[in-house]
Symmetry: C2
Subunit: 237 residues, 2 copies
Amino acid sequence: MSTQIAIRTGTIYPPVQVRSVPSIPNLACDGAIDAEALDQTMQLMGATMVYSRNSEIFGENEPADYLYKVVSGCARTYKILSDRRRQIGGFYLPGDIFGLEFADEHTLSAEAIADTKVLVIKRRALNALAGRDASVSRQLFALSNRELRQMQKRVLLLIKSAQERVASFLLEMAERMSVGNAIELPMSRQDIADYLGLTIETVSRTLTSLECAAAIEVPTSRRIVLRNRSALRRLNG
Amino acid sequence: MSTQIAIRTGTIYPPVQVRSVPSIPNLACDGAIDAEALDQTMQLMGATMVYSRNSEIFGENEPADYLYKVVSGCARTYKILSDRRRQIGGFYLPGDIFGLEFADEHTLSAEAIADTKVLVIKRRALNALAGRDASVSRQLFALSNRELRQMQKRVLLLIKSAQERVASFLLEMAERMSVGNAIELPMSRQDIADYLGLTIETVSRTLTSLECAAAIEVPTSRRIVLRNRSALRRLNG
DNA sequence: CGATGCGTTGATAACTTTCAAATTTAGTGG
DNA sequence: CCACTAAATTTGAAAGTTATCAACGCATCG
């Protein structure tokens, strides 16, 4: 399966773009409004791609020419550090958009966690559209905004204890994908560990201790039921 | 000294701004080009303010109506967590710009670390200008871009050991303000600790051990001389 | 059925924090 | 300018947390 679209090219800034840049600081809408314009565009203009479990979607240092929207499955972005550890940048669930970079090259790699279907759209095309459609550009801005806030949250998370990190993670996932109180985790313990900056053993032990504390249930390793959110929130700080 | 300018007002998005928004992903210039346009503007349009040591420049949740540029001294942004710990968002040295937020309210507070002189400019005015002057808007974008990348670096830093964090910090500061191999730190050990997510004791001990390892010298607590950068870089990962 | 991957558990080591005290530095008033 | 107090920094010892190494259980799959 040839899933690699990106082709390394010289960097070109269409002058049109450059003129219509930011005024970044003032716009703070969070995509709640107009949430459909970008979606529709991607549906219309995007190509559907399928990536099998653990296959690469894009690699670090490749030109960031495309934007990706998860249709089904789940993706992760990550970076391999010099000491061979892996830091996971984020998990992307159906409806989530990733590949939004702030440079012309990806600073992270991306892989499918499970078999994953994504809509792929050329950033160039999207930018051109954004120049004409304010709601699209607003949404692009809101998107990067959201990434930024998530990163801020992550910084705050990483200075906390293992329990707090795991609790935060569960609450985050619950917010994004819970059915009732149950979460069906698409990612492995190793993924979670690399996301939280912990070891797999610590994640496992922490989940066990949360279960003992009656805050959660873990019927199977990939299925977690939140039993006491306020306890988790208390841990969360 | 009444240093508080910000006044809470309703949020207004001038339609002009909204139309000329992003195309964010494609622009990756890093402020190297055109580095003067924004500077000149701030010089011309900005007001000079002086803040004494430890005084507040702005507070969390206040409207983010101004952009600040350090002329002399040093500022820090920070957030107080629910467990009373303080996380420092960043240190701003002469020439650095802060107060750039991605919402209409500050998500961090800011204080002067030493007696500090800053240029203050209304964001509204800057945005209006950015609509007309592409180089200004490019720089604004480059600024937020830089903040973002620093945040990414921070995430990578926070999953590492105390030694690596301190070594990274020293190299970062050296890059930003070294005179030869010497750094004159404007901030306290507590500031450093809160920046790196460590305790003050760990920071102190780590510096001592780096000194023993002949990687640095610490003639006075605020003055640090780098003796072996490659050793620091090795620690840095 | 054995191999393999993933997750859990246990024991120990390494690292960081906490608490306490000593030491140095900075600031203030005489 | 000195002396004195307060604040900042360093150092030590003990406790707490997380990582590492190792073993085990439990599924899945050929």
